[in-house]
């Protein structure tokens, strides 16, 4: 416990704040540099509004978890300081994110590239899970990519510890397209398997280059999921009809959906099917996924430096509002099907959409 208050001023002095590169509902992101070294950083300034109840929970979570987690595949928190009533997080500066990479149609992915991104995400995720934390908002937009191609997991605004097995958690987490069916059915007791489902959908998205299961509403998300993969049988996922928000969304026939991603090869298909199993208990853990044959078979994953990158890589990426903070904008709903939506636990039940600025 150092005299942090006195130190706080000195800390703020360490960093130069530059131009604004992103604006969200609850935070602005600025480009900055470390005065001593000239290293590029991103400074996330969290707005503490008049109307809110103190510092936002998402900001607290982000600080708390990033202070504890240090891994090459997780964004590094370099410093925290406050000026007046604002909290500033100093994060390492990352050029782009996986979403921009997927969206850039000029880029062609090889299987080795996809394998490399998957390996890096799973390594980061394995570390997070090993330390008793759930991320709960994995999506391509939150997988940032550094100048030398390394993938880093960011945005811990919805993360939480899962040490206590009996504790009830909210099911209103994870951006809908990456949300597993057990959360859509309102399960309050869940574990690392929810993050594995997200990674699985990201894997398929990397192959297809479009979001795999892009539901417009929660019910639609379930329909799309079952339409693609068939309605789960009682045998496949025991007891799921007993989940709190269970709805019958219709019986869809079983479908060999993995034929869509045959380009990734047999091992890849196998891993994707494992990660997208309906029964959360049968999904592999991040560690098991990393030991899957997919990663040890030919071709070897591409070195991060050699991975495809968008041409505009040196331009600071534009941050979507939901990227900078985990809460949706208070905009009227029904903004069209292509808006990405996500709910934070606080916004449960509120019918609001998030705005997304496409980079």
């Amino acid at each position: 416990m150092d005299l942090a208050a006195r130190e706080n001023g000195q800390r703020a002095e360490r960093w130069n704040k530059g131009i604004k590169i992103g604006e969200g509902t609850f935070a602005n992101v600025y480009k900055g540099t470390e005065k001593a070294t000239g290293r590029k950083v991103a400074i996330k300034k969290i707005k503490v509004g008049e109307m809110k109840d103190g510092l936002d929970m998402t900001a607290l979570r982000e600080v708390k978890f990033l202070q504890e987690l240090h891994h090459p595949n997780i964004i590094a928190l370099l410093d925290v300081f406050s000026v007046k009533q604002n909290v500033n997080l100093v994060l390492e500066f990352l050029d782009t994110d996986l979403e921009a990479v997927i969206r850039d149609k000029a880029l062609i992915f090889q299987n080795a590239d996809i394998k490399s991104w998957m390996a890096m995400s799973l390594r980061g995720l394995e570390y997070i899970h090993r330390h008793g934390v759930l991320h709960r908002d994995l999506k391509p937009n939150n997988l940032l990519i550094s100048a030398n191609g390394e993938l880093k997991i960011a945005d811990f605004g919805l993360a939480r510890e899962f040490g206590d097995a009996g504790s009830k958690m909210t099911c209103q987490v994870i951006t809908r397209w990456y949300r597993p069916p057990e959360l859509l059915f309102g399960s309050r007791f869940y574990s690392t398997a929810v993050d594995m489902w997200s990674i699985g959908t990201i894997f398929v998205e990397l192959i297809l280059r479009v979001p795999f299961l892009a539901g417009e509403t929660d019910i639609d998300q379930l329909k799309k999921t079952f339409h693609a993969m068939g309605t789960p049988t009682e045998q496949e996922w025991p007891g799921y009809t007993k989940l709190p928000d269970y709805h019958d969304v219709g019986a869809y026939p079983k479908n060999p959906w993995w034929n869509m991603i045959s380009s990734i090869g047999k091992e890849g298909q196998d891993l994707a099917r494992d990660m997208l199993k309906f029964d959360p208990l049968t999904r592999p853990s991040a560690k098991q996924a990393l030991q899957h044959r997919f990663f040890s078979s030919y071709p070897r994953p591409t070195a991060p430096k050699a991975l495809p990158k968008p041409l505009a890589e040196l331009r600071p990426r534009e941050l979507a509002p939901d990227e900078t903070k985990g809460k949706p904008l208070l905009a009227p709903s029904g903004n069209g099907p292509m808006k990405r939506k996500a709910e934070s636990p606080q916004a449960a039940g509120r019918n609001v959409a998030r705005k997304l600025v496409f980079a």
């Binding site: 416990m1 942090a4 208050a5 103190g54 929970m57 607290l60 925290v80 406050s82």
Partner: protein, 317 residues
């Protein structure tokens, strides 16, 4: 930014706390710490929060007063804000309005006790019948000024806590260590030893020990005191196994027992009336200390007034 998993006060901070540097006597500071933490505990119970949330708030509260003075920050303000912050940290959110109403109720109750004639002791026996006569509490309305005033105080204090603790909010609690150690010592199923250790750890939260010793030392201290009170022998040097120092755990036990004496919190083993006799001089002196703590906890202004008054009393001599 590397962080110690469980930050502790430095020797310097313990030897001369910021409040001490502002000429607040150590025993007054200790009393105020107890008063602030008791409020957290009572409010937490009324709000039906888990013990871990209250404990986290109390540890943050203690740490805060190792980097800041009670001359600059009112005890009640920090106490309510630490609890609010901890509900967010522990994922047990409460409505700010509920929290404020709870505090207002508790503070009103204290005010009621303070308004009683100071020569009339309020010990257990009397509390039952007449002490609460005439006590009334009105829940403030939705648009009452008092809510917004408290809200401003809480938002500002919360930021001060974060800032002054360097945004370091990791709190590691000793409860699970204690259970593990008891298992190793083969005492878990011994006649509510675990329950007593648990109570001791919760009582310890009222003392600054959580900001001074790491959790495993606190766990050992609770085991030492519980086994001594229950007259259960332990093998010599058992605490060495758990990396604790004898002097540390011995001093922790001393702090708890002082607390029991000063605040007549009875030992968890024997909450018998024998410990307290009628209104003797001791209890009058104790109650006056409580009164002082409750008054001074109200705000930093109260602390400042008290310090000025003390200086004036001293001056003519």
């Amino acid at each position: 930014m590397a962080h110690a998993p469980h930050p502790l006060a430095t020797l310097e901070q313990i030897a001369s706390t910021p409040s001490y540097n502002d000429e607040i006597p150590s025993e007054v500071e200790a009393d105020l710490r107890v008063a602030g933490c008791m409020l957290i505990q009572e409010a937490g119970i009324m709000l039906d929060l888990p013990q871990s949330t209250m404990a986290t708030a109390q540890v943050i509260f203690h740490r805060f007063y190792y980097v800041s003075s009670m001359y600059s920050f009112g005890v009640n303000d920090i106490s309510i804000s630490a609890l609010f912050l901890s509900t967010k940290l522990c994922e047990t959110p409460v409505r700010l309005r509920d929290l404020i109403n709870t505090y207002l109720f508790l503070l009103e109750r204290i005010q009621h006790l303070l308004n009683l004639p100071s020569d009339r002791p309020f010990n257990e026996q009397e509390r039952e019948d007449t002490v609460w006569d005439g006590f009334e509490f009105q829940v403030p309305g939705f648009h009452d000024e008092v809510f917004w005033e408290w809200k401003d105080v809480i938002t500002a204090s919360e930021m001060q806590i974060l800032k002054r603790l360097g945004f370091n909010m990791q709190v590691d609690l000793p409860y699970s260590h204690m259970i593990n150690y008891l298992k190793i010592l083969d005492l878990v199923f011994e006649d509510d030893v675990a329950q007593m250790c648990w109570s001791i750890l919760s009582d310890l939260l009222l003392t600054p020990m959580y900001a001074i010793h790491p959790p495993h030392t606190l766990a050992c201290a609770s085991i030492l005191l519980a086994t001594r009170l229950k007259r259960i022998p332990l093998p010599e040097g058992w605490y060495i196994l758990f990396d604790a120092e004898w002097n540390d755990i011995w001093s922790c036990c001393g702090h708890v027992m002082n607390l029991w004496k000063d605040w007549t919190v009875t030992e968890p083993s024997q909450r018998s009336p024998a410990v307290e006799s009628g209104p003797d001089e001791d209890s009058v002196g104790r109650e006056n200390r409580w009164r002082r703590a409750w008054v001074l906890a109200q705000s930093r202004k109260a602390v400042r007034r008290w310090l000025e008054g003390r200086d004036e009393r001293k001056a003519p001599v």
